[in-house]
Amino acid sequence: MRTQTRQLIGSLLVAAVIVAVTIAVVTAKFGPTSAAELEALKERQEQRLEQQEERLEEQEERLGDREDRRN
């Protein structure tokens, strides 16, 4: 292989290494969890809370009905 070709390939490999290191550094800054995953987690938590609230309301309604029947 000619020296110039070797040097060109070497220069491009250095560019590839720079790209890889940049991606690693920026990814490390972002942390392991993506924004989409965080949003999905938040949504699931909100859904759980809503379900709990619905259950509580149903229980309260049932209790209210029982008291009405007794009276």
């Binding site: 020296t3 110039q4 070709t5 040097q7 060109l8 070497g10 220069s11 491009l12 250095v14 560019a15 720079i18 790209v19 290191v21 940049t22 991606i23 550094v25 920026v26 990814t27 800054k29 972002f30 993506s34 924004a35 989409a36 949003e39």
Partner: protein, 138 residues
């Protein structure tokens, strides 16, 4: 277009943008080193001016692709909401880059302005990165 961008980035539009801009900026820094070797300002024993200039051209083509993708993402998803400074530096970056490509490919008479155009592209790229990615990563 907005939906396509969102789907491709899986909802992480800002993160993908920051990543692409950071890669472009890192490569742009390497570009300065390569072209310094290409012009003979730096003379490392392991790299001749010819291969350095060729690598500069190849790496520059990659940067152009990255910047066009980021610009499309920016305009289609965020519009011009991101702030005047970012919009001005981003638009100027693309304009100067376009002039540089024209000078490189067709307008050879203006070749003596290439170093100035290259440094301007680097500075505008750094300013554009700072106005979004820098703030996001800080």
């Amino acid at each position: 277009m907005e939906d396509l961008v969102e789907r491709l980035a899986r909802g992480n539009i800002t993160e993908v943008k920051v990543m692409l801009m950071s890669v472009a900026l890192a490569l742009a820094g390497y570009q300065l080193v390569l072209i310094s070797v290409g012009y003979g300002k730096l003379r490392p024993r392991f790299l001749d001016p010819g291969p350095a200039s060729q690598a500069h051209r190849a790496s520059g083509d990659a940067i152009v692709v990255l910047l066009v993708v980021v610009a499309v993402m920016c305009l289609s998803y965020f519009g011009l909401e991101e702030g005047a400074f970012h919009a001005v530096t981003g638009a100027s970056l693309l304009a100067v880059l376009a002039v540089k490509i024209v000078v490189l490919r067709w307008w050879h008479a203006a070749g003596r302005f290439l170093p100035v155009l290259g440094i301007t592209v680097f500075l505008l790229l750094a300013a554009t990165w700072l106005s979004t990615a820098g703030a996001f990563l800080a």
